[in-house]
Structures are given as C-alpha cells and as structure tokens.
C-alpha cells in the first residue's frame, strides 16, 4: 500500500483515547451569501439574480427558525427497537413536527449499546448522569421523547392501550404476532381507537412462506436479511471477473442498514397517505406493513422486470453502470472520481479532456467505429474499453484536478468523498447538509441534517438528538395518563417503568 518510498512514521500510543480528538467545525468557513450572488457574477440562468434572492430569503436554512410545523398536533408512539426502520420513520415524522414518544423496554433500546466494533470509547455521555449511549442511537433518534414501559407485564400493556387511545400513529417492529399475542395488536387497538394508523416494519413480512421469524433463542431478523432477499445484494458490488473474489468481487451489501432506511421512508409515505385518507375521507385508520425486502425491490427498478422479459438476471458491474456509458467512478491518483455523461455531446467533450494528456488513448476511442453510436457504447466491450482508457487518464490526476478539468468542459464529474471531506465540503457546509446540534444532554453533536430542511413554510428541523433513557417519564405519564410521581414510583417498583437517574 504505497510503502515503496520507505516513508512510514511510527507513533507511540498509550491509550486509544489519545487519538480521539474532536474536530472544530467547520475547518474553513464557506463564502458568504453576498460573495456568491454578487452582481458581477453574471449567471446566464439567473441574469438579474432575482431568483437567487428569493430562494435565499425564503428557503435557506437560516430562515427556518420560528417557522410553523407541518405535522403539528399528531401523536406518534414509536415502539420500535433494534432495527432502524421505525427509527427512521419516527425521525422523519418528528422532524416535521409530530410529537413522537419512544417507548423503550426497561433496559432501553438495544441500539443504545451497539458501538462500532464494540468500542465503547466512542460513547456519548450524558452530561448530568454519565449515561453512555452509542453514536448510532444519537444520530437516528431525533426529536423524540423517551419513556420506559415494560410491555411484557399486564400493567404495561394496559398503560399502552390507554396511550394508544389518544395516539394517531403507532409504529412497531416486533416479530410478527407479538403485539397481537400481548393484546395490543392492530385487531385490539383498532377497537379502542378506530382512527389509529398502525404501522409494522420488518424484513420479510408478517405473513407468507418466508415471513419474519426469530431464531430458536429469540434473536430478531435484522437488516440486511431483507435486502438479501430483494435483489439488491445480488447485483451490487464487483463481478469476480473485474476483481478477484478475495479482494472484493462478491455481492456486496451496503455499508449502512439501507434496507431499513428505505423501509422507513416508504412506511412514512404510507402513513402520511393513510393520514390524508383519514382526514379527508374516512375518519378511520389502517394497518400498514412495510418490509425492507419489498420496499427495496420497489426501488431496484427494472431488475425483476428484465427477468420476466427474457430471463436475464441482473449481474454486478462494480463501479460501472450497464445502462449508460461514462457513468461510473474509476480509481484515480488519490481516490476515485466519478464521471457522468451519456449523450454524444458530453462523450466528445470527455474525449477532448483525455486527449490533452493522452492523445493515444483518445484516438483509440474516437476512431473505433463500434463506439460511434450512443447506444452501442453500452455493450460490455464498450464499457471495458472506455473505462480502461479513462482510468489511464485518471491514474495521473488527483480528484481535484480531474474534476476541475472535466467541469471546465461542462461534464459532470465529482470525486468520491470520504466522510471528513463531506463534512468540510463548502457546498454542504453552506447549506447545512451536516450540522452541529447543541444538545442539552450530550453537548455538541455533529449530525447530518434532514433532507427536508429547505422548505418555504414548514421546514424540517432537528430540535434535539437521542434522549437519555426514560427522561420524559414524568411529563408523558402525567400529560396523557394522569399518573403522578407517587404512582410512578409504585410502577417502578413493580418493574413496569424505570426512573431516569435510577
């Protein structure tokens, strides 16, 4: 890995926490609004600058504070644990203004204790009590209140039913049938509250020949089980012919639990559609089931249809795309650069850029009669030839240089950025795709902002990130159930709730 020069530096590290240094953010400030829209930047698309002005006045995240909330007044009970689907759905609803109450078992959501590689030095500590929580939990549970309720006791279930009687939406992702057995499934709750919208999230489904199940010892099915059963993992990654299997030429899952992410987003849409239907037509709720495998299959657009067409099974193509030529990332001197261009116009511009440094390679492409037709370049050989020559050019350019040269010809090119580079990228800092949240309990936390943060009237905002366990017990129980501190202490002794700071 580049040790040819013999330049290696040895560092003595006594404790790993010596290497963990918080970063000041942002390292360099982005340009100001005046510099970007200054009058001498004559942009043909916006000659008088009126549109830019309008947008910055109304849509920019800076103006978001104080605007109303879209889903104000909705009460959501989030009983999901372990997986991220419900967390995502609940977070989207909460960022748009709904009141989301996260109902956790007495030990808390197991996500609180999931650290990357088990390294507890990555824990965030509550300023008041020192309670540790994992970065996953902090990032995914936003704007939610946290109460503890032991749903395995009779008392707990009775309290849950009372809460559900007042709620609009319930989210849960327990193994199929669990809530039903406990008497708090949709069948039972819909009698108490016909307006309830009940959403179940999972991997494969509540019914069917391959439905969700737990292992013999009660372990749940988590992501990426769902996306393995949709066709996503099979067609993602490098084929063994382009990269040996030991080095990565395998079907690859996504680095993050994206099956859950997509199921959460699809589920939220279904919930909001059901809400629309309830408000405008029927005054009644529904049972919603969102599974990772099916939602993911939905967004793997034509893969299944192609099989039905002529029996073709979508294969992996690594960083390349089989549908368009010049739509891939290829390795370059210090990373990977993505170049995108499908039409003839862009194709020849890419060749012009390559020809400046590698005329031989550009000639090989430009003269080849088989690559003249736009559609013909998508054949496998066309892809191999094109990308080989492009990679040849890229191997002598860093990402920044390559991007600059391509963009100067109006070809879309972008580097593959690492996490820290994304955090410092001027455009994202300017628009706050990543933002620093001052949380009361955890101090400054750096998180990625909601994509719906740029809206005119009701932008989505993060109020706080993950809560310590059971922080809002007192408030929620008093407000919705009329249970005061004495009775709450009694319940805690019975093992139904757990008191914060216990």
């Amino acid at each position: 890995m580049g040790e040819e020069n013999g330049k290696t530096i040895e560092i003595d590290i006594d404790d790993v926490s010596d290497t963990l240094l918080p970063r000041p953010w942002p390292v360099s400030k982005p340009r100001t609004r005046e510099e970007l829209y200054s009058p001498w930047v004559k942009d043909p698309r916006d000659p008088e600058g009126k549109y830019g002005e309008f947008i910055e006045e109304n849509i920019s995240w800076e103006k978001a504070e104080g605007k109303p909330w879209a889903l104000d007044g909705l009460l959501v009970l989030d009983c999901t644990i372990w997986g991220m689907a419900g967390a995502f759905a609940g977070s989207y609803l909460a960022e748009l203004g709904a009141t989301v109450i996260k109902i956790e078992p007495l030990d808390g959501d197991p996500q609180r204790h999931l650290y990357p590689f088990g390294r507890e030095e990555y824990a965030f500590e509550d300023i008041y009590t020192g309670e540790k929580v994992s970065p996953t939990f902090i990032h995914e549970q936003r704007n939610k209140y946290s109460i503890t309720l032991n749903l395995e006791t009779e008392e707990g279930r009775e309290l849950f039913k009372k809460l559900a009687a007042q709620a609009d939406i319930v989210l849960e992702n327990y193994p199929p049938g669990t809530f039903d057995e406990w008497g708090i499934g949709y069948r039972q709750l819909s009698k108490i509250n016909p307006r309830l919208i009940y959403a179940w999230f999972g991997q494969l489904g509540q019914w069917g020949s391959m439905k969700d199940r737990t292992s013999k010892y009660g372990q749940w099915m988590l992501d990426p089980v769902g996306i393995c059963c949709s066709e996503f993992v099979h067609s993602t990654g490098f084929p063994a012919d382009l990269l040996p299997r030991e080095q990565g030429g395998n079907p690859t899952r996504s680095g993050e639990w994206v099956g859950d992410v997509v199921a959460g987003v699809h589920g939220t849409i279904a919930i909001l559609a059901a809400l629309y239907y309830r408000e405008n037509v029927s005054n009644r709720g529904q049972f919603i089931e969102a599974t990772a495998s099916e939602c993911y299959m939905d967004i793997c657009d034509f893969n299944v249809a192609w099989y039905g067409f002529d029996g073709s099974i979508k294969a992996r193509t690594g960083g390349w795309d089989p549908n368009l030529n010049q739509y891939a990332w290829n390795p370059c001197k210090d990373g990977y650069l993505m170049i995108g261009g499908q039409t003839d116009r862009l194709w020849y511009r890419i060749l012009q850029v390559i020809a400046q440094e590698d005329p031989e390679g550009a000639r090989l492409i430009a003269e080849d009669p088989f690559l003249k037709e736009m559609a013909a370049r998508n054949a496998l050989e066309g892809l191999i030839k094109t990308y080989t020559i492009t990679a040849q050019w890229l191997a002598h350019n860093t990402r920044a240089e390559g991007e600059r040269k391509m963009v100067s010809r109006e070809v879309a090119a972008a580097p593959v950025l690492f996490i820290d580079e994304i955090a410092e990228y001027e455009h994202f800092v300017y628009r706050r795709h990543v933002t620093e949240v001052y949380d009361e309990h955890y101090g400054k936390v750096f998180a990625s902002n909601s994509p719906l943060a740029h809206q005119h009237r009701t932008p989505a905002r993060i109020k706080w990130l993950g809560r310590p366990l059971g922080l809002d017990n007192g408030e929620i129980f008093a407000r919705y159930l009329g249970i005061g501190p004495m009775e709450l202490k009694k319940l805690a002794l019975e093992g139904v709730v757990k008191w914060y700071r216990e």
Partner: protein, 157 residues
C-alpha cells in the same frame, strides 16, 4: 500506456483498472500470444512490460487492433481473452449471434426488439422494426402498417 498495452504486433490489450490496480504478474497479448510481465502499484506502472517466456497468469478482458479497422477479440474467446461470468444471460448475445425474442419467460407473446444480425457488429447499432410472424405475409406485404421493416434482413432463429 498503463492500462492499455500496445504490443508491438499492433494489438492493444485492455487491462481493466480494478483488477490491475495492484497487480504483479504476467499477461498474454491477445494478438501475438507473447507474454509480458507487469507490476502495478496503486495504479502506477512500476515495472513495464518485460517480455518473458512463461505461461501467463491472466488474460486481458478485451483487445482490439486499431491498425486493421478495430477488429477485436471480445470477452471469453478461448485462449485470447478472459471469460466474463458476470453476464446477464446467455453468452451468445455478446458474441453477436442474433436471436429473435418474441416470448417472455412465461411464454407469452411480447413486442420487443430483436438482436442485430452478426454483420452489424458487436453491439446493437440501430434497432430495426420487429416482424410479427403470426400475422400473414400478405398483410405485411401490403404495406398497410406503419413501420414495415425497411432495413435489416429477415432474421432466422
């Protein structure tokens, strides 16, 4: 000349970037069958093609000859190029053999584009109109329907 290797015989062998990113070994030219040793490190060519007389470790995926009108060896040619198993389906597609599809997996009749005949090259250059064999030739012969095929010969299965 890092990833595409121009051998003296005039053939250009394409060494695909991901496989050869950190590669050390022997590659055989598809044109003249001579073997050369390479060493790549992080994409840079460290030791250039040195001719050796041993068996190759790997074959290139694709090779063509610019001096003779870009005739080429496609993937999977025995002894010349590597096979590519990551194919969507029947390898005959990629060797240019035409196959007319009129039925889908379930056996129902669909209206789709057939593959091009061999003379058109290795890729679908231009679509030509599809012929419905179930309609009679007198109908087709009568020029009643738009899109009567005007280019491309009748293709047999």
């Amino acid at each position: 000349m890092v990833y595409y290797w121009e051998c003296e015989c005039g053939w250009v062998n394409y060494l695909d970037p991901y496989y050869f990113w950190n590669f050390e070994g022997k590659v055989k030219c598809a044109g003249c069958d001579s073997v050369a040793k390479f060493r790549f490190l992080n994409g840079e060519l460290m030791d250039g093609p040195t001719k050796v007389d041993e068996a190759p470790d790997v074959l290139p995926l694709y090779a063509d000859n610019p001096n003779e009108g870009y005739i080429s060896y496609k993937v999977g040619v025995e002894g010349k190029t590597r096979p590519f198993y990551g194919l969507m389906r029947d390898p005959r597609t990629y060797t240019g053999e035409a196959r007319v599809r009129t039925e889908n997996v379930r056996g129902s009749f669909i209206r789709s584009m057939p593959n091009q005949p061999k003379k058109a090259g290795f890729a679908e250059v231009r679509r030509f109109a599809w012929i419905d064999r179930k309609k009679s030739t007198d109908v087709w012969g009568e020029d009643k329907y738009p899109g009567k095929p005007v280019y491309g010969p009748d293709v047999e299965e």
